[in-house]
């Protein structure tokens, strides 16, 4: 059993105050069932998310970050199955519920109104043969039958304006919108029923950097007025450092470090985080020769014994191959590394 990573003080980036715990994930494991047996893509993940918080999840391909997103939102499809753990969702009113065991019917009631999702490819998420407005009205009325079509249309216009899209674009088909507009409209759609939690999987990876900055600025502004919490998954750690309150770094299906963006930036404790931190060349600081992390991420079906990062780790010793290190508090963050103190001394 791993240690649950709690944020010590409920303040986020730039001193923002955070609300009570909204999501409490414990020991979550997801397997992909293959003909050669189950492959664990997400192993023993524990984390908490507070109201109004942005939790960044950073990782490379195969790190389990997208699997985590689908498991949190229970959107995984066979052959992926949640093998263990719980995802406790604590609504403002009513009892906490476990999203892993909740019935389809009750889960459906939570979707859009409590938890919403924004995926990477807007073209795959929007219906290509329905006008944008009609898709909004569908979602809004599905979850609030009392609302008239007319009111739903007015709400659609309001939502589109919120993300900087002229209201008349509701009459457009998805292919008539630019990539940036499509991605913005997905965010607007996710916010249609005023959810408490928005899970985003690489929401701006498909758009250019100028558009990315504009979309994220808008998202941050909306989040500050509407106070929803965000789980933001991306491979781009430098973006998360700017955006997130806290960051969880995943490697080979496990969280190897979790802490505030500030601490992850100033003093990364896990050798992998440290490697990732220096894998991005600086934009303005003096250029010097840098090195990436040697080797490549492991095959999840054939993980090395002990710490999966050990074969690429410059601090690795024999201890690293005996057992999988658990997340434990080190400094201000939680780190899954057996020799953090020695690693710090060596630096």
């Amino acid at each position: 059993m791993s240690t649950t990573a709690q944020s010590t003080a409920p303040t986020g980036r730039r001193g923002r105050t955070l609300g009570p715990v909204l999501l409490d994930v414990r020991g979550l494991s997801v397997d992909y069932l293959t003909t050669h047996g189950p492959v664990r893509a997400c192993a023993d993940v524990s984390l908490t998310l507070r109201r109004g918080e942005i939790l960044g999840v950073a990782g490379e391909s195969g790190s389990g970050k997208s699997t985590l997103v689908t498991a949190l939102t229970r959107l995984q499809r066979p052959p992926a199955v949640t093998a263990a753990g719980s995802v406790e969702y604590r609504p403002v009113e009513g009892e906490p519920v476990d999203l892993v065991t909740l019935s389809e019917r009750r889960l459906r009631r939570l979707r859009w109104r409590d938890l919403a999702i924004v995926m990477q490819s807007a073209m795959d998420c929007l219906n290509p043969v329905m006008r944008l407005g009609a898709q909004f009205v569908d979602v809004i009325r599905e979850h609030d039958r009392s609302m008239s079509t007319r009111a739903a249309k007015a709400r659609t216009a309001e939502l589109l304006r919120m993300v900087g899209i002229p209201a008349e674009r509701a009459a457009s088909y998805p292919h008539e919108l630019s990539g940036g507009m499509r991605q913005r409209s997905l965010i607007a759609l996710a916010l249609a029923c005023d959810p408490a939690l928005v899970v985003m999987d690489e929401p701006t990876t498909a758009v250019d950097v100028v558009m990315q900055r504009q979309i994220l600025a808008q998202l941050v502004a909306l989040q500050q007025t509407l106070h929803f919490a965000i789980v933001f998954v991306t491979h781009d750690l430098s973006l998360l450092l700017e955006l997130a309150d806290r960051i969880a770094v995943m490697y080979a299906g496990r969280i190897v470090e979790i802490g505030s963006a500030y601490d992850i930036y100033r003093s990364p404790r896990h050798p992998y985080t440290e490697g990732l931190r220096t894998a991005f060349p600086p934009l303005r600081a003096p250029v010097r020769r840098m090195t990436g992390i040697p080797g490549a991420p492991p095959d999840l079906a054939d993980l090395p014994p002990g710490c999966a990062f050990a074969p690429r780790c410059r601090y690795a010793t024999d201890d690293c191959t005996t057992a999988v290190p658990a997340l434990r508090p080190v400094g201000a963050q939680h780190v899954a590394c057996v020799r953090t103190e020695e690693a710090d001394d060596a630096r």
């Binding site: 940036g180 900055r213 491979h235 430098s238 700017e242 060349p281 934009l283 303005r284």
Partner: protein, 343 residues
């Protein structure tokens, strides 16, 4: 061993693609306009821009995938024409694609791919010679152990290894110019730097001239000696990398830099919220119907009447940089450079 004479040049190159609309009419998409670019031995030139900026089209023009609509491509100072033998040209100029998964035939082993490249460009010889040359190529791109890699199929290699194999194959013909189109964007972040370092080594040790195309301005600064910035088919700024990136002289370059993640700046004590005060900056134009004059003017906070009428001539600066912007021609340089951080 940087040289003074460019190996490969694009001189005032333009490219139009015809597009057909739904009424049977035809229009031209002007994907590249008045582009100038020179690649020198032992130097890496980066071409930075967003999707649709024309950077890949320019690379394809340099690789002779398309003939330019206007202007010319010069190899060793001589214009490339329809009569130029393609085999000879591609012995000098090789292209590395973005996607190392699509660029390798999944049915063949690395040995076959390298042997074909060697033989097609007349570097065949006996079986032992080909084997030795292949192993040597793999060593040059740090693919180890080379003996085992030679027997591998693409699916047995990681993304980074595949891209190294693509580079090794390009090197098989002993090119003098390497055109690398987003060579790291499909790779995992932890291995990107090593591929960049490999490209830097090829420049330094073998004097390759290289074009590095990217949307990631930080990686361009890390790798390149010279940086060119493209917007909507026009090259708007260029110069030594730190001239362009630390003192941008075109409003678009500045927008690009301000939009790029920069934790070092935003995590500094007392720094502003990096997402506060980000203004709506519009989107790049449709190239079938681009705005007249400077194509950036509809998004430019400094736009004036001249910008809407005519594309500005090049202004060169003391630090070796140059830009196509009316601000400099109207004595308004100070407005752009006043609040730029100089390291």
């Amino acid at each position: 061993m940087p040289g003074d004479q460019p190996v490969l040049e694009a001189v005032d190159v333009g490219k139009e693609f015809p597009v057909h609309d739904r009424f049977g009419g035809s229009r031209a998409v002007r994907a590249v306009e008045h582009a100038n670019l020179a690649l020198y031995p032992g130097r890496i030139t980066a071409l930075v821009g967003e999707s649709g900026s024309g950077k890949t089209t320019l690379a394809r023009l340099l690789a002779l995938f398309h003939p330019p609509t206007s202007g010319e491509i010069r190899l060793d100072g001589l214009p490339v024409t329809a009569a130029t033998p393609r085999g000879e040209y591609h012995s000098a100029v090789q292209l590395v694609f973005q996607d190392p998964f699509a660029a390798l035939n999944s049915l063949h082993r690395a040995r076959y791919m390298l042997r074909r490249a060697l033989q097609l460009h007349g570097r065949g010889g006996s079986r032992a010679e080909v084997e030795r040359a292949s192993l040597d190529l793999l060593r040059r791109v740090n693919l180890t152990p080379p003996e085992r890699i030679l027997d591998s199929f693409p699916h047995q290699l990681s993304g980074g290894q595949r891209q190294r194999l693509v580079i090794a194959r390009a090197l098989a013909v002993q090119p003098r110019v390497l055109l690398a189109d987003e060579p790291i964007s499909m790779l995992d972040v932890s291995i990107r730097l090593d591929v960049l370092n490999l490209l830097a080594t090829l420049r330094d040790e073998q004097g390759l001239a290289m074009l590095y195309i990217t949307h990631d301005i930080a990686s361009a600064r890390y790798l390149a000696d010279t940086v060119h910035v493209m917007y909507a088919g026009q090259t708007v700024e260029g110069g030594p990398r730190d001239s362009v990136i630390l003192q941008p002289k075109h409003p678009y370059t500045r927008l690009l830099l301000d939009s790029s993640p920069d934790p070092a700046r935003s995590m500094a004590d007392g720094a502003d919220d990096p997402f506060a005060g980000v203004a709506e900056a519009g989107e790049p134009p449709n190239l079938a119907d681009p705005p007249p004059g400077c194509r950036f003017h509809p998004r430019c906070p400094f736009a004036m009447d001249e910008c809407r009428r005519e594309f500005p001539a090049r202004t060169t600066f003391a630090d070796g940089g140059w830009a196509h912007c009316w601000l400099h021609r109207k004595g308004r340089t100070g407005e752009l450079l006043a609040d730029v951080a100089v390291s």
